[in-house]
């Protein structure tokens, strides 16, 4: 392998291309996140009714976070089963925590 410099550079070129492709996805992800942020701020500044605005901005936050996790933090790549398990367990416990702390003041 080491003596065959030709195949090494071919391999490198292949990976460079692959990285470039990934980078394009990342930039697209970034554009979508900025768009979601703009929509969320726009909705609040436009004084749309709270019953409509709050669920929408919460869903957009969740989608943005999914973009971050799956593209920027590479959860979409193979070999990420355990990290996904870890973070989803965290999210599950987080959900229960927020549910408990918010419902406790409603009664």
């Amino acid at each position: 392998m080491a003596d065959n410099t030709n195949s090494t550079s071919e391999k490198q070129q292949f990976y460079r291309k692959k990285h470039k492709e990934e980078m394009k996805h990342h930039v697209l992800t970034f554009v979508m996140m900025i768009a979601f942020t703009l929509i969320a701020f726009g909705l609040v500044m436009a004084d749309v009714s709270a019953m409509f605005t709050i669920p929408i901005i919460l869903i957009m936050a969740a989608v943005q976070v999914a973009f971050q996790l799956y593209y920027f933090m590479h959860l979409n790549q193979e070999g990420h089963e355990m990290p996904a398990l870890m973070i989803y367990s965290g999210i599950f416990a987080a959900f229960l925590t927020i549910l408990a702390l918010t419902t406790i003041v409603w009664w």
């Binding site: 392998m1 080491a2 003596d3 090494t8 990976y15 460079r16 990285h19 990934e22 980078m23 990342h26 930039v27 970034f30 996140m33 900025i34 942020t37 969320a40 701020f41 609040v44 500044m45 709270a50 605005t53 709050i54 901005i57 919460l58 957009m60 936050a61 943005q64 976070v65 971050q68 996790l69 920027f72 933090m73 790549q77 070999g79 355990m82 990290p83 870890m86 973070i87 367990s89 965290g90 999210i91 416990a93 987080a94 959900f95 925590t97 927020i98 549910l99 408990a100 702390l101 918010t102 406790i104 003041v105």
Partner: protein, 206 residues
């Protein structure tokens, strides 16, 4: 294995998972992020429970200014992208460009922190909204301040990696370290997405 993997030009595709030590740290770091999620959830839950208990002090609607929060959000989101660029150059084994993009990330992080310090200063001196003013103010400063402390820690992490490895170049020893630090930076951004939505936007909507 003819290729010497320790040399930077033969860096494996996923250096963070190429060795047993790397895999363990990679897994451990995600476990840590799971724990951080719960930690921030308890602060978010506390904030949500107390956000209307302003004890005649200023309310969320009175003090929050969306312009500043919008700029801070864009700055932090952009810094997330610049750290992705840094990892892109790391994978292409371009050490100088990686250092440059991490430097830009650190700069954006500093701008973010500066805005946050200005914001807190403004609340304390312009609105008499101190840490002990009300249950709302305590919950707010704890949640947002804790995130700010994470940003400060992330900046220190990036800077120490940059300085420590400035003459080393990329190798199988330090590439996973840069990768993990960038994961941490993205996580900070994840938390901020919820802060600007739950604290500032929902605070303005009422």
């Amino acid at each position: 294995m003819a290729d010497d993997m320790l040399k930077s030009e033969n860096l494996p595709q996923n250096p963070e998972r190429a060795t047993l030590e790397g895999r363990n740290k990679f897994m451990g770091f995600w476990f840590f992020l799971g724990g951080e999620t719960v930690l921030f959830a308890s602060l978010f839950g506390t904030y949500l429970a107390l956000k209307n208990s302003n004890a005649q002090g200023p309310s969320a609607e009175e003090i929050f200014g969306l312009e500043l929060v919008f700029i801070m959000t864009i700055v932090l989101l952009t810094s997330s992208l610049t750290s992705v660029y840094a990892m892109y150059h790391m994978k292409n084994n371009d050490f100088k460009k990686m250092q440059l993009w991490i430097g830009i990330t650190v700069l954006l992080g500093l701008i973010f922190l500066g805005f946050e310090i200005y914001e807190f200063y403004h609340y304390v001196h312009g609105y008499e909204f101190g840490y002990t003013t009300s249950a709302f103010s305590s919950a707010f400063y704890t949640l947002v301040g804790f995130h700010g402390a994470h940003v400060a820690f992330g900046l220190g992490w990036f800077l120490s990696l940059m300085i420590r490895n400035s003459k080393r170049g990329i190798n199988l020893y330090n590439a996973p370290k840069f990768y993990i630090a960038s994961l941490y930076w993205h996580f900070i951004d994840v938390v901020w997405v919820f802060i600007f939505t739950v604290v500032y936007l929902m605070g303005k909507v009422g």
